[in-house]
Amino acid sequence: MDKTTVRMQQIALQTLANGEVDVILGWKKGDEWYDSYPVVINDINETAELIWDAFCVNNLSKYLITELKKNLRIGVFLKGCDSLAFNQLVIDNRIDSERVVIFGLPCPGMIDPQKVKHAGLNKGLLKVERTGDKIVFITKEGVKEYIGRSFDYDKCLNCRCPNPVVSKYMLSDAVTRTDEEQYFPDVTEIEKMPLEARYDYWTKQFSKCIKCYACRNICPLCSCETCVFDNIAAGVSSKADADCEQQFFHIIRAYHVAGRCVDCGECSRVCPVGIPLEKLNRKIIKDINQLYGDYTADTDIAKSPPLGTYKVDDFDPFDGSKQGGKK
């Protein structure tokens, strides 16, 4: 068995048994090779079913909001990106970190089942194992081995935080990534498009939207008790299939995570119609970084969120005569 999975099961057993936590949030393996789904367990006998593999893509931190309401102490497994979301939820007062024990999982990247399918590797596939960048496809016929990141989710290729920024127990060695980071190439690409082309691009993207709100539901930071788009009284919700409604939803959704988005890319991953939502979020992150200094949210919970603070000499695009701030 995978070394980390062994460690995971041990720590879950240990902390449940010694009463450090009441429940554990982790993943179990489903019927399919790509199916690793979130579970809440409180029975030490179930700890043997916990799993860590390249499909544990679901961020468990958002589940804490509901689970913590039961007044329990919770042990939770968090990857790098998950831990950023965890911190942002702490900043947002959504969870009480005192009652959470974090098991950190350095993450080499998660595998996109679609990419496996496109490569035709899914036929007869029983299991996929990953150690660092070595990926082993196990089928009835035998074993195929690949080295590299060609099966990683796109969002994982842009990962800026493979290692958890907060944890009580770290379950494996830190992942080191030496790839040269490109500065928001996806955003720059859109910024370079002519205005009309940009409008057409986004209108086309938004018009695909079926208002399923999966992007919002998966987003670890879209955690409002009642989302403004579900609140009739707020006067902004409309499920009408009109371009302007889609535009409104997507612009405001992106704006609502401004300064809080941890760039985990889950919104785009779950979008059933493939709207590149992260490109809206990342535009705002890029602007915040450029204008107000690097904001790595989530790593420093004492820091004021960029929209919760200001500097007297902030960059002022609305005043030609004085332009200060960090450019």
Partner: protein
């Protein structure tokens, strides 16, 4: 849909000249909710107002639209009229069809169309208006003054004289502050103690003033009119009531190692001490760090000798919580540490002094009994060099970028005093600029030069080298470009004034802000110089920025006047257009709290029941007494849980929709 009445004003020809009133009346009468429309030449006149009042009653109007001049002009007039007719004043909306329409547009057709649109927006908003009631808050009619220097003393006296109770908190064992340390005051050269000590006595004896010396602010809660302040009275180890101030204990105390704070370390004091002879209260305090009894358990001489039995080694810090209607911060300033200014040899040479040390040295009640001598050899100096702007107007990290404001004048004063007593002493002043704005200030400084022959040299001192018993001052005269070497016997440094090191901590307790230099920030640099952003908290003296005594006293008086104005109201009326939280929608993220300029939002814990499990939930709570109604929180709130009364999300959206009709 409420019953709405609309009143269209001609404003003579001011509106009617450009806007077709008849057409407007016709269009308005067709708007939904409108049951009554009336136009009149001057709606703001008494006749006009009566039209409104009568119509409210006769037509049972539930909302009133006034289409007239700017609401900044007459909104209040019409609100009052509505109130007189029994309608809540906040059910009135004004459509600005003069300043924003008839006066800026020439084309009658366009202006008429726009006037109709503006009225439509007002109708849309008004139909969503709700009755708003200004709340009344009780005012606790006692004031708290933090700091017992000249600023705090003056503020307390002024408030007490007006008949209100004032408590003064002073951190050190006696009130008096920096002014008590000063020898003479500019520009009149009267003795500081002579003008200050009578005021100190007044404070102590005033029936309306209650002193808390050797005390600090522990915590502050509440809001304007209702502050709840916990004061920590540090253990003095001497009973304030029993002590007669005879002074035997301070005389006989065998510990003599501590440096006198009041004398800027130029002499030592006992472990039990009164800071200075005129101290108020004239009751000593035991410095437990240096007291033999506290350190070794042996001694207790003071206790044995005290004829009043006032020594109480067992005293402990006491916390007192009291309510106040207003708070004045008058915590004063400090001078900077000079450890980063090695070139001036301050740390190494006893004859290099700060200006404040110089004040003690020349003071008749000071360590030398006023004899002007060099601390190193007790001989009278022959050459004295003053250096101004030590750390002031210094943009490097070791200094302060601002001008300390008082140094030019006190340096001139000190130089003049030397020359006055000892005309044979040579006095030099190095300066960047001489800044003497103020009544009789420039004349004063010129006298130092012209009458007393003080040598002013524009230039900075590069370094001071001790040589034998002399201090060689290397400077540059920037007028001539000459390098100067002055063999001085004494150097006096005008060290920059700086905010108290704990200003930020106190600011946090009071929820008032400090600027980049840690001075407290006034509410408006020009128009509200003694107020802070927190209602009911005021500033006096150098805690707001460097100030001389006249300015400090003036500001203290101003702060006192503000306090008196506040306390004289038994009740405060709050602005009803404040934010309100829908607790069901609130996530408790407190984004609103972070941006509120008035600290009007706090976290509130709610117990919630979820399928039989009770858990706690945080929500935001608006303190209506503190909220000023800017509405910034409403935008920070993603789920729209916080809204602003009088400018709700729905009202503004309705206005947008109506304008886009």
């Amino acid at each position: 849909m409420p019953r709405i009445g609309a009143f269209v004003c001609w404003c003579g020809t001011n509106i009617a000249g450009t806007v077709d009133i008849e057409q407007v009346v016709q269009a308005v009468s067709e708007m939904s909710g409108i049951v009554y429309v009336k136009d009149y030449q001057y709606m703001c006149s008494e006749v006009g107002q009566n039209l409104v009042k009568t119509a409210i009653k006769e037509w049972q109007l539930e909302r009133v639209i006034i289409a007239s001049c700017s609401p900044r002009m007459h909104e209040n007039t019409f609100r009052k009229a509505a109130k007189a007719a029994g309608l809540n004043p906040y059910l009135v909306e004004v459509a600005n069809i003069r300043e924003h329409c008839s006066w800026v547009h020439k084309n009658k057709e366009e202006a008429t169309k726009k006037a109709i649109a503006l009225i439509r927006a007002a109708v849309a908003k008004a139909s969503l208006n709700t009755e708003l009631i200004a709340k009344e808050i009780d005012v606790e009619n006692r004031a708290l003054v933090i700091g017992g220097g000249i600023a705090g003393i003056q503020t307390a006296l002024d408030i007490a004289e007006a008949g209100y109770q004032v408590d003064v908190i002073e951190k050190s064992p006696s009130i008096g502050g920096k002014m008590a340390q000063i020898d003479k005051t500019f520009p009149t050269l009267d003795c500081s103690a002579c003008i200050l000590t009578p005021k100190m006595v007044d404070v102590a004896s005033h029936p309306n003033i209650n002193l808390y010396t050797y005390s600090e602010i522990e915590s502050v809660n509440g809001f304007v009119g209702n502050f709840e302040v916990t004061i920590k009275q540090k253990a003095r180890s001497v009973n304030l009531e029993k002590c007669t101030g005879c002074g035997i204990c301070t005389e006989k105390c065998p510990s003599r190692k501590s440096k006198s704070e009041f004398d800027e370390g130029l002499r030592t004091r006992g472990a039990i001490y009164t800071p200075f002879p005129q101290a108020v209260p004239n009751v000593p305090v035991i410095d437990r760090e240096h007291c033999l009894k506290f350190n070794t358990g042996k001694c207790g001489i003071c206790e044995k000798l005290c004829p009043a039995g006032a020594i109480e080694f067992g005293q402990e810090d006491v916390l007192v919580t009291k309510k106040y209607g207003a708070v004045v911060v008058a915590t004063g300033f400090d001078i900077i540490d000079l450890d980063k200014f090695g070139e001036y040899q301050y740390q190494n040479h006893p004859d290099v002094l700060t200006s404040l040390e110089f004040e003690r040295l020349t003071n008749a009640a000071g360590p030398t009994a006023g004899k002007f001598i060099r601390p190193s050899n007790n001989k009278r100096p022959e050459k004295v060099v003053f250096i101004q702007c030590v750390g002031s107007r210094d943009v490097s990290s070791r200094g302060k970028s601002y001008c300390s404001k008082i140094c030019c004048m006190y340096t001139a004063k000190q130089a003049m005093l030397i020359k006055d007593k000892y005309p044979d002493i040579e006095v030099y002043v190095f300066y960047i600029d001489v800044r003497t704005p103020g009544k009789n200030f420039d004349e004063f400084q010129r006298r130092a030069v012209e009458e007393y022959g003080v040598n002013y040299i524009k230039g900075m001192v590069g370094k001071i080298f001790p040589a034998g018993d002399k201090l060689i001052v290397h400077g540059v005269d920037s007028f001539t470009g000459d390098t100067l070497k002055i063999e001085a016997d004494m150097v006096v440094l005008a060290a920059a004034a700086q905010a108290k090191p704990d200003a930020e901590v106190l600011g946090r307790k009071l929820a008032i802000s400090t600027d980049t230099n840690n001075f407290f920030t006034e509410a408006h640099p020009k128009l509200r110089p003694v107020e802070t952003h927190s209602a009911g908290i005021y500033l006096a003296g150098a805690c707001q920025g460097p100030k001389d005594i006249p300015e400090t006293v003036a500001q203290a008086g101003a702060a006192a006047a503000k306090v008196i104005g506040l306390l004289s109201k038994r009740k405060l009326v709050s602005n009803p257009c404040v934010s309100v939280v829908n607790e069901d929608l609130c996530n408790g993220c407190l984004s609103c709290l972070k941006i509120c300029p008035y600290d009007a939002i706090a976290a509130k814990e709610l117990a919630t029941n979820n399928h039989g499990i009770t858990s706690k939930r945080i929500v935001a709570k608006v303190n209506e007494a503190l909220c000023q109604g800017c509405g910034g929180c409403t935008v920070a709130c993603r789920p729209g849980a916080i809204d602003l009364k009088g400018f709700t999300n729905k009202q503004i959206t309705a206005e947008v929709d109506a304008l886009c009709h």
